[in-house]
């Protein structure tokens, strides 16, 4: 029996190792003195130093963070109150609007990118941060909707009703009762949206203007036209940030239960 239970664990271990292999290698090579990834030139922090001196890279990071924050907050507001409305109301076009709002994560990203580029040119919206935020918000909303919807199923509708019966206004009942109850879902949905926005390259490439570069776009162009090991250092830093974010989100998730 013992052997039988061990075999699956070995399998899980092997696949996990393969999943982490590229990431671990990047972190190791971020400390490599040599510019070549095929040679080990000794331990060095020079790529970290160069990374922080790289103006363009810093600008791209700044843009990405602004973009992720804006689209995350915007989609959290629209998505959260939208989910509450969808749960409480019944109207003819409800199914249609739910379906439509989910489309951005149901179709291949390339279509969304193409469609936005054509549409923004059609309505004469100059490409840049604004178009990026709009595009990212559309694919962030579904994550918030899904999370909040799932959470709303679990909470007692009568609580908000009771608050209203006791004289609280609709708005007051929302902020005092419903919102605190769904807050964990809003936060984990936002975190997911934030990660998705921060990582997006396909849609961003289409909707960004010549002046605004986001981090994934910068990495993508570097990967196509020659990589400097700065990227490795950047990856290592992003990894630390990601692990931090995940630890925070599991904390939030734990509170939920």
């Amino acid at each position: 029996m013992k052997n039988r239970t061990k075999l699956p664990n070995i399998y899980l271990g092997i696949i996990m190792t393969l999943m982490y292999l590229p990431i671990v290698l990047i972190v190791i090579y971020s400390f490599n003195e040599s510019k070549l990834t095929s040679v080990w030139g000794g331990f060095s922090l020079k790529w970290y130093e160069q990374l922080f001196k790289d103006r363009e890279m810093m600008e791209a990071i700044k843009n990405s963070i602004i973009l992720a924050f804006s689209s995350c907050i915007l989609s959290a507001i629209i998505g959260t109150i939208g989910a509450v409305g969808l749960a409480r109301m019944n109207f003819k076009t409800k199914g249609m609007i739910e379906y439509l709002s989910n489309i951005p994560i149901m179709i291949p990203e390339i279509i969304l990118g193409m469609v936005f580029l054509a549409f923004f040119s059609f309505i004469n919206l100059p490409k840049g941060m604004l178009t990026l935020i709009i595009a990212h918000t559309t694919f962030c909303i579904p994550y918030i909707l899904m999370m909040v919807k799932a959470r709303l199923v679990g909470i007692d509708k009568s609580l908000a009703e009771a608050a209203k019966d006791l004289g609280a206004s609709e708005i007051r009942a929302f902020f005092d009762i419903t919102l605190p109850l769904i807050m964990p879902a809003v936060l984990s949905g936002s975190l997911l949206a934030f990660a998705m926005s921060l990582d997006d390259v396909v849609i961003s490439i289409f909707v960004t203007g010549p002046k605004v570069t986001t981090l994934p776009i910068k990495i993508y162009t570097q990967m196509k036209f020659g990589v400097t090991p700065e990227i490795n250092a950047l990856c290592a830093i992003m990894l630390v940030v990601t692990i931090g974010l995940i630890l925070v989100s599991t904390r939030i998730g734990r509170k939920k239960i």
Partner: protein, 288 residues
């Protein structure tokens, strides 16, 4: 009283107004424009001529573009098969772990899942490049004599695709297998079914929604992930995704790009529709 009720209702309406307006303008609008655009034609020098033509759709039927669709399908298909073979057992075994280990595995899966997809691909460049980590390992072990030159090949693209999309399958299968009633399997075994038969008739059937949703979550994106083919395949492999991108940027034939997108969208929507028909569910399993 009547009035009072009405006023309350109208306030609730406000909660979905932003979602409604935003979605209609920025999801509905662009999609309608895409369909309209696909029936227009491109101007001689620059821009679009607003006439009605099916030229863009007939153009897709030209052998060279049919070939692109076939190649994309082949790659998406191979990717999905490989991911199923690797991911299904993973999700299944994971669901059998102790609660504590389940949580740990979940976090371990989430970390690469959330790190930049591009960055992870770069790790594969380090591994696969000529005289890279893999070549050094194989040559060190005297398995191969010279570099394999795996980077910029079909194999490299396939590895990149499988690697990037595997977590979707794992999470889908896992969420299905987690809900599995293990006593049913025991019952089948007690009643004399063989291991294999139990798997086919009980386990597989009950985890089918997760498996199918994993198939969709890997197949649909893999039709459009042009950057993996671009980075690991070095422009040698042309997919529908890269074709659309080319038409939008270099080719400047937006109506044709729109027609390609419409066809791609119909194909993917059809898959999701079939999934819903087969499993009788509205939402995909395990997206979260």
């Amino acid at each position: 009283m009547e009035n009072f009720k009405k006023r309350k209702k109208s306030k609730l309406w406000l909660t979905i107004a932003p979602l409604y307006i935003f979605t209609l303008i920025f999801v509905g609008g662009p999609l309608i424009y895409m369909v309209a655009l696909s029936f227009m034609s491109r101007a001689e020098v620059w821009g679009i001529v607003a006439d009605v033509t099916v030229e863009n759709y007939t153009k897709i039927l030209e052998p060279i573009y049919i070939e692109t669709f076939v190649q994309s399908f082949k790659l998406a298909f191979s990717t999905t098969i490989l991911i199923t073979l690797i991911g299904y057992p993973f999700g299944y075994f994971m669901a059998k772990l102790s609660p504590q280990w389940k949580k740990r595995m979940m976090i371990l899966i989430m970390i690469p899942f959330w790190t930049s997809a591009l960055i992870r691909l770069y790790g594969w460049i380090i591994i696969l490049q000529s005289n890279g980590v893999l070549d050094k390992l194989l040559m060190g072990l005297h398995i191969t004599d010279g570099p394999l030159k795996l980077l910029y090949t079909y194999t490299a693209v396939l590895i990149g695709m499988v690697y990037s999309l595997l977590p979707f399958m794992i999470l889908s299968v896992y969420s299905s297998a987690e809900k599995l009633d293990w006593s049913l399997i025991e019952a089948a075994r007690d009643l004399g079914a063989t291991r294999w038969k139990t798997f086919l008739t009980v386990t597989l059937k009950l985890t089918l929604p997760g498996l199918l949703s994993g198939v969709i979550l890997t197949f649909v994106p893999s039709m459009g992930l042009f950057f993996i083919a671009d980075i690991l395949g070095g422009n040698k492999i042309v997919l529908v995704g890269s074709l659309i991108q080319d038409q939008m940027t270099k080719g400047r034939n937006w109506p044709f790009a729109a027609a390609l997108s419409v066809v791609l969208m119909i194909m993917t929507s059809l898959m999701i529709y079939l999934y819903r028909k087969i499993t009788h569910t509205k939402d995909l399993e395990g997206i979260l």
